[in-house]
């Protein structure tokens, strides 16, 4: 091989490695059709750390130092979308993550993530999540492309005070910006900070109680500019409810400031042999969002409040040699929110959303010449959404239902290499019209993973294709994702 060819090969390899350090999720679970209830690999273990992200359980959960590098790219497009949704999306994500066991009492976890999000042909919406729970939407009169990018940094530290009591801290920071390429040329500066303090208590040998308090403050500053290129002043429509808006032109800065508080309590129980694990979690979340314009003085727009109760239970049973695995997850979420006039105690909207969900799965491991694992998981979710928009005089009460079937197949080609296949089929139904939800559709997702497992590292190449197709007409939305994931142990 010539020197030049070796150089090209190096660049190609370095590029692939870099590109594939993207979305650092558990790609092994995803490659197996997201049948997470019954998959028993290390990244999908069931404990307080993975189930409720309690930093005070880091030492109990992680036994070795490791780092993960991953990169992913995804692209999707289609005409089956909601009013404000973009026609297509391109996401790039790069991640580095690692755990360091500092001593018998101390552990550290850190993650750096960088995302580049492209949203093409967004109709009017001037925010990344126009269908978030709050009713405020800012829109203009142009269709354009949005580009978002920014880093996230996340660190955790645990200190085990005594054998039965540990405390943990987590800090999260994200800064990013979004820019639309058409006038009003909004520029969104996104700042997000969260701090979490947690604790875990070993009540009995196999029973752990954990809890944490998490505070997050998020601020989105949106700068709207006058036209300087094509000589026009597009309008900004500032919705306080579904159909009632203010009309604005010119240059201004809008701020959305969100405070979130989470109170978490979780319990983990396992049997002596570790073949039976069960966890339960209860979260209370409280959100307060204020929106205002910052000029010579502050002009309030509207306030939004939400309370969320989350309760989840999950169990996993494994046979003695892990030949069979059985898992169940039950849970629910209740959201109650309202928005009110910025200066007067006048209710503009209120909304309650109740979600109940149940899933069960089973996996079999066959000891053949080439060992094979087959996982099957099914779930049902029921959501009722009760929305009262007093300002626009829109009142909606509807239910949503979803059925999902996840299948995964893990075929070991040899002790080191495996092929992972997954198929996810789903169906979503919407009882009545609501702009917030897509009409009835069927979902299909196919995943493929090529996994190399060595003693010191795991390397996985992941591919996914999905399609959502409307039941009533031929509209569809489809996309793909490719990722490379490396985990290296010390």
């Amino acid at each position: 091989m010539s020197k030049q060819n070796r150089w090209y090969l190096f660049i190609w390899f370095a590029g692939i490695i870099f590109l594939c350090q993207a979305f650092a999720q558990d790609f092994q679970t995803r490659a197996l059709g997201n049948a997470d209830l019954v998959l028993t690999h290390w990244e999908n273990r069931l404990d307080l750390y993975t189930f409720s992200r309690n930093p005070a359980f880091l030492i109990q959960s992680e036994k070795r130092d490791w780092i993960v590098l991953s990169a992913s790219e995804s692209f999707d497009k289609g005409d089956f979308k909601r009013y404000y949704d973009p026609e297509s999306k391109l996401d790039l994500n790069f991640r580095a993550e690692g755990v360091k066991i500092l001593s018998e009492k101390e552990a550290f976890w850190g993650k750096v993530n960088y995302s580049i999000l492209k949203r093409y042909s967004i109709p009017y919406a001037i925010e990344l999540h126009p269908y978030a729970d709050d009713p405020l939407v800012m829109a203009d009169t142009t269709i354009g492309n949005f580009s978002y990018d920014g880093p996230q940094v996340n660190v955790q530290y645990q200190y085990q005070l005594v054998k039965w009591l540990g405390v943990g801290l987590e800090v999260f920071y994200e800064i990013g910006q979004g820019i639309k390429d058409r006038f009003t040329r909004p520029r969104i500066i996104h700042r997000d900070f969260a701090a979490k303090i947690g604790s875990s208590v070993q009540l009995k040998d196999n029973l752990v109680l954990g809890g944490y308090f998490d505070y997050r403050i998020l601020q989105d500053q949106t700068e709207i500019k006058r036209s300087t290129i094509d000589g026009r002043d597009p309008f900004v429509l500032r919705y306080r409810s579904e159909n009632v808006y203010r009309l604005q032109t010119g240059t201004f800065d809008r701020y959305v400031s969100l405070d979130r508080y989470i109170f978490n309590l979780a319990l983990h129980h396992r049997n002596v042999s570790g073949t039976f694990n069960q966890v339960a979690r209860f979260d209370y979340k409280y959100f307060y969002q204020s929106t205002f314009d910052e000029t010579a003085y502050r002009i309030p727009d509207s306030d939004w409040y939400a309370s969320v109760f989350d309760g989840w239970y999950q169990m996993r049973w494994q046979s003695a040699e892990n030949r069979r695995v059985f898992g169940v997850r039950l849970g629910g979420r209740y959201l109650s929110s309202f928005s009110q006039h910025p200066t007067l105690a006048i209710l503009i909207t209120d909304r309650t959303v109740t979600t109940l969900q149940g899933e069960a799965g089973i996996a079999f491991r066959f000891r053949m010449l080439k060992p094979l694992m087959v996982a099957l998981q099914g779930g049902y979710a029921h959501t009722s959404d009760h929305y009262n928009d007093y300002q626009s005089q829109v009142f909606r009460e509807l239910t949503l239902q979803g059925l999902t079937l996840n299948t995964g197949l893990d075929l070991a080609l040899d002790p080191i290499h495996s092929i992972l296949l997954g198929v996810e089929l789903g169906n979503r139904t919407r009882e009545k019209y609501s702009p917030r939800y897509l009409p009835d559709y069927n979902l299909g997702r196919f995943t493929l993973g090529l996994l190399e497992k060595r003693a010191r590292y795991h390397l996985e190449l992941y591919f996914e294709y999905f399609k959502r197709k409307a039941v009533d007409n031929g509209q569809s939305y489809h996309g793909w994702q490719v990722a490379l994931y490396t985990k290296i142990w010390k």
Binding site: L165, S199, G231, D233, F338, A345, D350, S392
Partner: protein, 375 residues
């Protein structure tokens, strides 16, 4: 025991979080109720009523929200009452009109805050206005579609809506002053203050510059063929009049008569904002040049007494901009959604209609129509 204490502390902490959330308001929006009773105070509605406080049936009430893009229109019943229900909590510009006959109208207008959800009764007292014989029929201000900030082909169009000849001699066209100093008191002043004021040739009472019944008159910023500068700009070289600042090197078309500047310290041509402004037409019988100290230094203005103003029109592109022209001249505003350099124009829907409220009298044209009315 220690573990139980710890558990107790956590549960108390959780409880505090849950029970310290704010209460939801019990009053919901869009439930405001109001009753208006409209009275005529002039005796014109019912000359037989010597009390001069007569309930007016079929008076038109327009509520324009100052917070939202929302307008409500109501008509009074035979007892002069109208019950308004389920409207948004907001501040509204309330305009009432009742046409007595051609050339005479009863009007009332004020800004009212509707945030109270209890049944309340408001009395609106109508006063008489004579719709202007000469009206500002069209204002083209935003400039043609362009990316070089060109807006110099602005013009104002007048229309004689009577059946007799009117003479323009000595009349004054003014661009109103828009500032935070004058805005709060504009409805209490006996004059309209102008940053620019240009006078037609001649003096009031003279009869040299006629405008005939049904005739349109175009007054250009500069009577020039602007299409020579920008292909989609307007050719105004045949305008009827042009604004000419005799104190500067302003362009002057020798074939077009001039309106001349009344404020010697102003060296700029008569140009109006491409977004938001107001224009008034005075009969020229009275005006005063005043020098005022502002936060930017001293400046000269022309005060036109209210009683000398024949017509006035305010325009603004967005509903969030404050109103600058007193409701006694124009109870509303036109131009909402007309953006800079969009090539659009605002014109009277019907040149014979003048309710002193440009919100209802005007509409937006996709292109200017100098000297004619688009069919």
């Amino acid at each position: 025991m220690k573990k139980l204490v710890w558990l107790f502390v956590v549960l108390v902490f959780l409880g505090i979080g849950i029970f310290c959330t704010p209460e939801k308001p019990v009053v919901t929006d869009a439930k405001v109720k109001r009753t208006f009773v409209v009275y005529d105070t002039t005796g014109l509605y019912d000359p037989t009523d010597t009390t001069k406080l007569t309930p007016v049936a079929n008076a038109k009430i327009i509520l324009n929200s100052k917070d939202y893009v929302k307008k409500y229109v109501y008509y009074t019943d035979d007892s002069g009452r109208v019950n308004i229900d389920n409207i948004l909590a907001s501040t509204y510009e309330v305009n009432v009109t009742y046409a007595i006959g051609p050339g005479l109208m009863l009007v009332a207008g004020q800004v009212m805050e509707f945030y109270d959800f209890h049944e309340e009764v408001d009395t609106l007292l109508l006063t008489a206005v004579s719709p202007a014989p000469l009206v500002i029929n069209e204002i083209y201000y935003c400039g043609p579609k362009n990316n070089i900030f060109f807006f110099f082909d602005q013009y104002i169009e007048l229309f004689n809506r009577t059946d007799s000849v009117i003479y323009l001699d000595g009349m004054i066209l003014g661009r109103i002053r828009s500032s935070k100093e004058i805005r709060p008191i504009k409805d209490t002043l006996s004059y309209v203050q102008n940053v620019f004021a240009y006078k037609f040739p001649g003096n009031p009472g003279e009869k040299n510059w006629p405008i005939y019944p049904g005739q349109y008159i175009v007054i250009a910023s500069d009577a020039y063929d602007h299409s020579k500068t920008l292909s989609n700009a307007i050719n105004l070289e045949n305008a009827d009049f042009e604004f000419y600042n005799q104190y500067s090197g302003d362009y002057d078309n020798p074939d077009v008569p001039n309106l001349t500047n009344l404020i010697p310290s102003k060296r700029a041509d008569f140009l109006i904002s491409v977004v938001s402004d107001g224009v008034v037409l005075g009969d020229g019988t009275s005006w005063e040049l005043v020098t005022l100290a502002t936060e930017y230094g001293t400046s000269d203005y022309i005060n036109l007494p209210i009683e000398t103003i024949i017509d006035g029109v305010e325009y603004k592109s967005g509903t969030t901009r404050p109103k600058d022209l007193t409701y006694r001249i124009d109870a509303g505003y036109t131009g909402v959604r007309v953006t800079r350099y969009s090539g659009k124009s605002v014109e009277r829907i019907n040149p014979y209609m003048d309710t002193n409220n440009s919100t209802v009298d005007f509409h937006i044209l996709d292109h200017p129509t100098p000297g004619y009315k688009e069919e």
